[in-house]
Amino acid sequence: MNIELSDITRKFGRNTAVDRVTLEAGPGVLGLLGPNGAGKTSLLRMLATILPPSSGQLTLLGRDPRNPADRREIRRRLGYLPQNLGYYPSFTVVEFVEYFALLKEMPPHLVTKAVAAAVEKVDLGSKAKAKLRTLSGGMLRRVGIAQAIVNEPELLLFDEPTAGLDPEQRVAFRALMRDFGQTATVVVSTHLVEDVGAACSEVALMSNGKIVFRGTPAELTVRGETGQGVGDAPLERGYSAILAAARA
């Protein structure tokens, strides 16, 4: 298992963002769904080793991130795309991706090829030498994806990855996630249930810091057909039915 969470809690002052979550995940694409404030981003930041849990046991890629040496090793094999991508406007696309490849401690002799491959995968080959300040929001999102995948990570964490992408790019990105899911654990936090339906092999639905549903997209769809959910698509109905039940 690449992700093993046991009774993980994360508090910010009196507010409990993640509440005793237990979760295991191996290779595949895990969709993390939930309303605003459900704790998705906090959970993702703990998986990204940015936040330490307040309590509970967290094991990533078989290592304990509390240990500095283990944490460093996890980070070498980690890819992360935050919800709000910060970037340096004066960097070019290639420089930005190369910068992160180097900070992820990729072997130097592999960096140039890996950067070119990552940039091509997100279809930015023609903009490789463009300064980031000249790119559109969707292109910047793809730069963020490129830096996340440049090191061929074993644990890939995406926070709202398709926000700002056009439909064509969204389809391409879903294919990319499925590709990575063959060998790596991909966790996608999203509001867009169609992304989940199209790309995820598993879904976890969070509400009030807890995981209230864990299953396949098909199982989520079934819950929508049998429950009291509302929405245009079967997945949306399943999503709202589970949330309604959790709130009740």
Partner: protein, 513 residues
């Protein structure tokens, strides 16, 4: 070198250097440098050490706000650009990432600084006739730039807001101002810790010419600023620990004990170095060519620098230190006419030689230089010893500045005053052993200068507290014109007969022919 051959840190540094914001500020820094440091130094005498003072006195002002401000701007980048989360997931520790950003900032700042220093040194190289470029001021200036940049960087890293950079720039400017102010007010009686400021004020124009400038103070300054820099680097390493919640022990564990230990060691070593430098400057005392710090001082550097003077003129040879050869034609031309008026008089100088400036100051401190004559007319045969400070004060300007009537008159008047009335600045008034010229002495000096084609100038203070017997400037001028209208032979005969009485102040205006 190919990209593949470079190590990871070198490649990160290369990206940072390529995309650094500092080059955008370089034109502004260079413009400031040109209008401040370069043009100021252009008026300096062609002395390497004097020109080098522009590095610590002027370049510091030009660079300080930029070094600190840009350092803060670069360090606050992660906060301003919201890249903290993304970077926190990378394997390289924060200090390594910051080191690359700081390294790129320092690279550009130091490159610009060294280019400015090169321009200053090329400027003096085109004029200088002796000596070579001093390196200690360059080292001190470079360390100052590094320290201010690291100071700004630390501020930016700890408080990553958009106002940190301008505040750091203003703070650096104030720091330089305080240091400059302290250095200018430094006296042998004040606290010598002001020597920690790299600023020197304008040094004597022949500093580093007759004697070596001891590196004692420069070493202490480098130690002080270097210590601050190292301590700040320690703060940068340790700071992330205190941002982690969950108690100090948990934070230390999360950051890694060796890293925390390294940070604390850097901090302690930096503070120790700075404190040592502070203590060392407290023991400084005035030496032959500036301030000496006993614990760092090498007595061998107190020996005079051997040189062969450059001389001109046959009837009255005038000699200057080869560092001031550019002034020789003007100096020789100025002294010839007045020397001709004195020729043959008892005790009249037969030639003029330059001696180190500041001799009077050192003498007042009880620090006579062995083997060096004091300014004035002395020796057998009598020689007029002048220095770059009192004798030819306009040496403060470049050789081109010496070619004007005012400078010529001042230089001539110094010789005549030394001969007719004795050294005017030998001691502090009003209880000086040698008084300023009397009314009769002033009239004779004025007359001799009129004959030589120049105009004497006596400030009012020259007669204050002196028995001028109620003579007014108009009466002195009238007596001077009367004396000047005599034939050369008559003037000479009268001076030969009455010089001893004139020199001791026993001749009145009415007694002048």
């Amino acid at each position: 070198m190919s990209a593949v051959a470079l190590s990871r840190p070198a490649r990160v540094l290369r990206i940072e250097i390529r995309r650094s914001v500092v080059p955008w500020s370089v034109p502004l820094i260079l413009a400031l440098f040109f209008f401040d440091s370069y043009r100021t130094a252009a008026g300096f005498p062609p002395n390497w050490t004097v020109h080098a003072s522009a590095i610590t006195d002027n370049l510091a002002w030009d660079f300080a706000p930029f070094a600190a401000g840009l350092g803060a701007w670069v360090a606050s980048r992660e906060g301003r650009r919201n890249t903290g989360d993304l970077l926190a997931t990378t394997a390289r520790p924060a200090w390594a990432r910051q080191a690359a950003a700081l390294g790129a900032t320092l690279f550009w700042l130091l490159l610009t600084f060294l280019a400015a220093v090169a321009a200053l040194y090329i400027q003096v190289a085109l004029q200088a006739t002796w000596g070579g470029p001093p390196l200690w001021p360059v080292v001190v200036g470079a360390v100052q730039v590094v320290t201010l940049a690291v100071l700004g960087f630390t501020a930016g890293a700890l408080f990553p807001g958009r106002f940190t950079a301008p505040l750091a720039a203003i703070g650096a400017f104030l720091l330089v101002f305080i240091g400059f102010h302290a250095a200018l007010n430094l006296t042998p009686d004040s606290s010598t810790n002001a020597l920690l400021s790299p600023a020197t004020g304008l040094p004597l124009e022949d500093v580093g010419v007759f004697y070596h400038v001891a590196p004692d103070v420069a070493i202490a300054q480098v130690m002080f600023m270097g210590g601050i820099t190292v301590a700040l680097l320690g703060v940068l390493v340790v700071a992330p620990v205190f941002r982690v919640r969950g108690g100090l022990s948990g934070a230390v564990g999360r950051a890694g004990r060796p890293l925390c230990a390294a940070g604390v060691v850097l901090l302690a070593a930096g503070v120790a170095a700075s404190w040592t430098a502070f203590a060392l400057t407290g023991t400084a005392k005035l030496g032959v060519s500036g301030w000496d710090i006993p614990a760092l001082h090498d007595a061998a550097s107190d020996q005079p620098i051997p040189y062969t003077p450059d001389c001109a003129g046959t009837a009255f040879p005038v000699c200057v230190h080869p560092a001031f050869s550019g002034y020789l034609p003007a100096a020789a031309a100025a002294l010839q006419p007045v020397a001709a008026e004195l020729k043959g008089l008892p005790g009249a100088p037969v030639r003029a030689e330059e001696v180190p400036a500041g001799e009077g100051v050192r003498a007042a401190q009880g620090m006579l230089l062995p083997g060096m004559a004091s300014p004035g007319v002395s020796g057998t045969p009598p020689v007029y010893h002048y220095d770059g400070n009192n004798g030819i004060a306009p040496f403060l300007g470049s050789p081109a500045g010496a070619d004007n009537a005012r400078w010529r008159a001042g230089f001539q008047q110094e010789l005549l005053t030394e001969f007719i009335a004795g050294p005017p600045n030998a001691g502090p008034r009003p209880d000086a052993s040698v008084l300023p010229p009397t009314a009769a002495q002033q009239a004779v000096i004025t007359a001799l200068m009129t004959v030589a084609g120049s105009q004497a100038q006596f400030g009012e203070d020259m007669t204050n507290g002196h028995p001028t017997a109620g003579a007014t400037p108009a009466q002195i001028d009238a007596a001077a014109q009367r004396f000047a209208s005599l034939s050369t032979a008559a003037r000479h005969a009268w001076l030969a007969a009455h010089l001893p009485a004139l020199r001791v102040g026993e001749i009145t205006l009415a007694q002048l022919p």
